[in-house]
């Protein structure tokens, strides 16, 4: 039975369903930020007062708590609040959670899920607007998810909690209120990209929040007769390279969109991967659409200049068509 939900609702539903099924699932912190969605926590708190906890403000300690609890048999969902705060827990995630399974020769399992609200949120200024996915992307052993729709959020959050690996769900402050259908309450497999729109002329790989302006760009371009395919990797690590490569094999043109600063963005990394593995398919330069390499200014006018939009994405699509 299809439901209609916001991404915030989908996340809470996933946590609630997982908690109902497994008494070792617990929630540390509140993943819904400062906006109106945060009220959705109330039901969860009431249903599981001893499994929904408000930890102190100490991201490293909370992340370590999650690692240890996961190793000890719990399935903690640890919220790290605003993206940049997850940097305080970098060592616990990258040095501890991500390597424990490998380092123990497969003996230790770390079924912890982390969640953060990253990205340019509106008035966040540099310290509350960091996109963090690109900075964790090089860490081997960490599953990284970036759901852009309620159905993907529900399904990937279920997979994350069920996964025996440490998993980092990248939430986005601007996505929480986004609504859409959740056709079925079922898990979405980790590591599988989703083609959000089929097309023949150009491939856009857009991650996370950027899926939406990419789809808008595709609609606008369709009116001009340009048929765009929009690929949403959904899982950033491990990346579904095959789906991206086969789309590029079909279209021959690639635009990669990421809200993060360009240098070291996932847009750049995916472009590099295709320049190696899909080179012969390419008919034109890959276009990377990302933020300029600068912190995010507080002033709304400056902030708006920084982030990719349907217009800048559409322009990049046209660049792949004009050069040959």
């Amino acid at each position: 039975m299809s439901e209609h939900m916001s991404i915030a609702q989908a996340l809470i539903a996933a946590i609630a369903d997982a908690m109902a099924e497994d008494p070792m699932v617990c929630l540390l912190g509140s993943p819904l930020g400062l906006g109106p969605q945060r009220m959705l926590m109330n039901g969860l708190r009431e249903a599981h007062p001893d499994r929904v906890l408000d930890p102190p403000t100490c991201e490293a300690g909370n992340a370590a708590l999650g690692v240890g609890a996961a190793m000890g048999g719990a399935r903690p969902f640890v919220d790290l609040s605003t993206g940049s705060f997850s940097f305080l827990a970098f060592s616990q995630i990258v040095n501890e959670a991500a390597v424990a399974h490998y380092m123990s020769n497969g003996k230790v399992r770390v079924p912890v899920t982390y969640h953060t609200l990253e990205g340019v949120r509106g008035g966040g200024a540099p310290q509350h607007s960091q996109n963090v996915h690109a900075l964790f992307w090089n860490a081997s052993g960490l599953e990284m998810l970036a759901p852009a729709t309620p159905a993907d959020m529900y399904g990937l959050a279920r997979s994350a909690i069920a996964s025996d690996n440490p998993t980092f769900i990248m939430g986005h402050a601007k996505l929480l209120g986004l609504e859409g259908p959740v056709p079925e309450r079922k898990a979405v497999p980790i590591g599988k990209a989703d083609i959000k729109r089929r097309g023949r002329d150009v491939t856009i790989v857009a991650i996370h929040l950027m899926v939406h302006p990419a789809l808008a760009a595709a609609e606008a371009l369709a009116k001009e007769g340009i048929d765009v395919e929009v690929v949403d990797p959904r899982t950033l690590a491990p990346l579904d390279e095959a789906t991206i490569l086969s789309s590029v094999a079909k279209t021959g043109r690639l635009v990669v969109v990421d809200e993060a600063p360009l240098q070291g963005s996932i847009a750049s990394g995916i472009a590099g991967m295709v320049a190696e593995r899909g080179f012969h398919s390419l008919k034109a330069p890959i276009q990377r659409v990302a933020r300029p390499d600068a912190p995010v200014a507080f002033a709304a006018g400056l902030e708006a200049l920084l982030v990719p939009t349907a217009e800048t994405i559409a322009a990049a699509v046209k660049r792949t068509l004009s050069t040959s």
């Binding site: 408000d54 300029p292 507080f298």
Partner: protein, 340 residues
């Protein structure tokens, strides 16, 4: 602990505290009028601490502060117009609109960093003090932080470093958690600490500690002055905990001017303090408290109090006008100042 203050100092502090208060009332109004959006924090109820602290510092001293910085920046002498403009994200702002409410920062006034990362101001504070020590000129550093900062391990690390190296740092903890709500009750994050007494933490590291009534500006000034003197004398860091009740308007996640625009007639008895916030008006509002002290047994002071307030309000009206008139930062400046 409380030493009687000179009247001159009291009047000076009163003017500063009034400016701080009227500034925050402007911020609240401008937010209601949608001149800016996003999360912000008001310093109302904590003016005694910040004004006293700034009165103890010299121009060459340095400061780090937090998301709840407006009061500190104003008390240290920042132009209220530029500060308001910054909160509005305007080109005329203290930081050209790049920082906003959480990051008002003017190095010309000794501010090194205004960080919204909890634990930032205290940990960078040890660094500020380290630089002061290298200068060997008797200057000191003051780090402002909230009670929750002591939940962050880096705060503990910074206290350890300061204690080990006898850094000239006044660690000024503004504990506003009394009567605060908490996330579970839909409120703003509040202290989650197993330490019943936060002073035990610096004390474990051998740092001398004092606790002071953060509403009593005389007491704040005396305690902070003593700490500052110790630092200046090269005796190492001190930890001062200033206790305030959480101002009702800062208890929910999003601030509200729930106690209304401050009516100084509450200090003279000409306006009623009854109602929900009675206790706050009577005991916990540092501005009203100091006004009462100044007025006590000196009816002649009444005119001075109200004149001062009128001047402060006029200054804030100008500041508001400046801020609202200030243009947005030019698009062409977007990528300036990524690197020095």
């Amino acid at each position: 602990m409380t030493k009687p203050q000179t009247d001159d100092l009291r009047w000076k502090l009163f003017e500063t505290m009034l400016l701080m208060r009227r500034f925050e009332e402007s911020v609240s109004r401008l937010n209601e009028q949608k001149h800016f959006t996003g999360h912000y924090h008001l310093y109302i109820g904590e003016e005694a601490t910040g004004s006293a602290a700034m009165a103890c510092l010299e121009p060459r001293d340095t400061i780090t502060t937090t998301h709840r910085n407006h009061g500190h920046v104003i008390a240290r002498g920042a132009d209220p117009g530029a500060a308001l403009a910054e909160i509005l994200g305007r080109a005329g702002g203290l930081n050209g609109g790049r920082g906003g409410t959480i990051h008002l920062c003017d190095p010309a006034l000794g501010f090194l960093s205004t960080s919204g990362i909890v634990g930032g101001s205290i940990s960078m504070g040890s660094g500020g003090a380290f630089a002061r020590k290298m200068k060997k000129d008797g200057s000191i550093h003051m780090a402002f932080f909230g009670d929750s900062a002591l939940e962050e391990g880096v705060a503990f690390e910074a206290l350890n470093i300061a204690a080990l190296w006898k850094l000239p740092c006044v660690f000024l903890c503004e504990n506003n958690s009394a009567e605060a709500w908490a996330p579970g009750s839909g409120g703003y994050t509040t202290l989650v600490h197993a330490a019943h007494d936060l002073r035990a933490i610096p004390a474990a590291l051998g740092i001398p500690t004092t606790r002071v009534d953060g509403v009593d500006v005389d007491a704040c000034h005396a305690a902070i002055m003593e700490g500052v003197a110790r630092c200046r004398a090269g005796e190492g860091p001190v930890f001062i905990e200033a206790m305030t009740k959480r101002w009702a308007g800062s208890a929910p996640l999003w601030p509200e001017l729930s106690t209304g625009v401050t009516d100084l007639r509450m200090a003279t008895g000409e306006a009623s303090t009854t109602g929900e916030h009675h206790a706050w008006f009577e005991h916990d509002d540092p501005v009203l408290r100091l006004a009462r002290t100044l007025l006590a047994g000196a009816p002649a002071n009444k005119a001075r109090v109200f004149d001062m307030d009128a001047r402060v309000r006029a200054r804030m009206a100008e500041a508001e006008a400046f801020a609202i008139a200030s243009p947005s930062p030019a698009a062409a400046t977007l990528l300036d100042h990524v690197f020095a």
